[in-house]
């Protein structure tokens, strides 16, 4: 049985299922196979009944098939620039003020920048040199508090599907940004009041600094996630963090649903962390009045490594 389960795990990993799913599937098979053994089935009979691990994994991947996030139509946008990418990795550096931006995958080997709106697109810096793509808003002199909506401009950036993004750095003031289906090694996002939306992305290291922007992270996998929030809220759903998850917040709340990670470190003034189906293995908790609330169906052990709080509570149920 051990061998069968190991083979199955290997096959499941090939199918790009999330770690949480793999653990569930393995546990279910362990149970079913031991039921079969209890019933006195021979090894041959068990093999016939359960099928090849590779087949099981394929069937599961088929039926669990996660549709990628629906991509934005490029219709309604005008092509601003396109750059041919020769290597297999790029970096992306974006600085924007109020312009909304969407990043997604394109089928060919080019980086394509589209825009819509009546703003002065020629004033933006758009370049691709030495495997680095840059998009920057024009430098503003003096104070520009009033931005005429009619002068608004939105960007849509398509990155080649076959290319890995080594570093994606985005610094924005109030722009809303959307990331779909991307594969990023190091992802750094700074926002003042702009909202972030990350869907179906695979990220190794993720760092988010947000003052008052709200962020939504869904259907993605991360190695490490570091959130630093002032009053912005973060919603994380159906996501796997394979290593560490750190969240420091002043008053922003972090809502976590269907998420696993190894170490979870929270430091908060008054912000709360609300978890549902949130399964960290170890927790470090520091807060003034912020609470950590976790509601899980499965009773997995969560180790509280450190707990220092003035009036905050840890509620795990």
């Amino acid at each position: 049985m051990k061998k069968y389960l190991e083979d199955l795990r290997q096959e499941l990993m090939k199918q790009k299922l999330t770690e949480k799913e793999i653990e569930e599937i393995i546990a279910d098979h362990k149970e079913m196979i031991s039921n079969a053994i209890d019933e006195g089935l021979s090894e041959e009979e068990i093999k016939a009944k359960f099928g090849k691990p590779s087949q099981v994994a394929e069937e599961l991947a088929d039926s669990d098939d996660q549709e990628p996030a629906e991509q934005e139509e490029t219709k309604g946008f005008q092509l601003l620039e396109s750059f041919e990418v020769k290597g297999d990795s790029i970096s992306v550096d974006v600085n924007l003020i109020y312009e909304d931006i969407t990043y997604q995958l394109g089928e060919d080997s080019q980086i394509k920048v589209f825009y819509q709106g009546k703003g002065k697109v020629e004033k933006y810096e758009v370049s691709y040199e030495k495997n680095e793509f840059r998009l920057s808003a024009p430098k503003r002199h003096g104070f520009n508090f009033f931005i005429n909506k009619e002068d608004g401009i939105n960007f849509l950036v398509e990155l080649p599907r076959k290319v890995i993004v080594n570093v994606l750095k985005q610094v924005i003031i109030s722009s809303d940004s959307v990331f779909k289906n991307l594969n990023i090694k190091q992802f750094i996002a700074n926002t003042t009041s702009g909202d972030l939306d990350i869907d179906h992305c695979q990220v190794e290291k993720f760092k988010l600094h947000s003052v008052s922007g709200d962020s939504k992270i869904e259907n993605s996998t991360f190695e490490d996630m570091v959130l630093s929030l002032v009053s912005g809220d973060v919603f994380i759903k159906n996501t796997t963090i394979t290593q560490d998850f750190k969240a420091s917040t002043v008053s922003g709340d972090v809502h976590v649903t269907d998420v696993t990670c190894v170490n979870f470190e929270m430091s908060a003034v008054s912000g709360d962390v609300n978890g549902k189906e949130f399964y960290p293995q170890k927790v470090i908790f520091k807060s003034v009045s912020g609470d950590l609330n976790i509601k899980n169906k499965e009773k997995k052990y969560i180790e509280i490594v450190k707990n220092s709080t003035l009036s905050g509570d840890i509620n795990i149920s």
């Binding site: 279910d28 209890d38 359960f50 669990d64």
Partner: protein, 124 residues
């Protein structure tokens, strides 16, 4: 058989056993494979998908022998889905029977008519 089609039928079979009572995975597989030629690698993915769609809930229950078992329990949403599939199936299979029984149910009859026709074409 077309894989998609087969999957749909087995889905209905899984729903049909769970509409009666809660069961654990291995028992469901045993129940079905007693009647139709399916094994675990068809049934388990269906169980999993239907659970994801909230048609089933799961809970653990201790057993006399060994580890606790994961039981699948049909939800109200699951029951509605069961009714819908069942209706689709009944109307489909009813139509199929009408088509294949157009020439009657007796194979000897059908064979006799077929043979005469073959001989007629040969004679031409």
């Amino acid at each position: 058989m077309n894989a998609q089609f087969k999957r749909g039928i087995i889905e209905l079979c899984v729903l049909s056993v769970l509409v009666e009572k809660d069961m654990y995975g291995y028992l469901i597989i045993n129940q079905l494979s007693g009647f139709i030629d399916v094994n675990e690698n068809t049934i388990y993915p269906i169980l999993r998908r239907l659970t994801k769609e909230d048609y089933f809930e799961t809970y653990l229950e201790e057993s006399n022998e060994g580890a606790p078992r994961k039981y699948y329990k049909m939800t109200e949403k699951g029951f509605m889905y069961y009714l819908q599939l069942r209706e689709e199936w009944d109307s489909f299979i009813g139509g199929v029977y009408q088509v294949i029984n157009q020439g009657g149910k007796k194979n000897e009859e059908i064979f006799r008519r077929f043979k005469t026709r073959i001989n007629e074409t040969k004679a031409d």
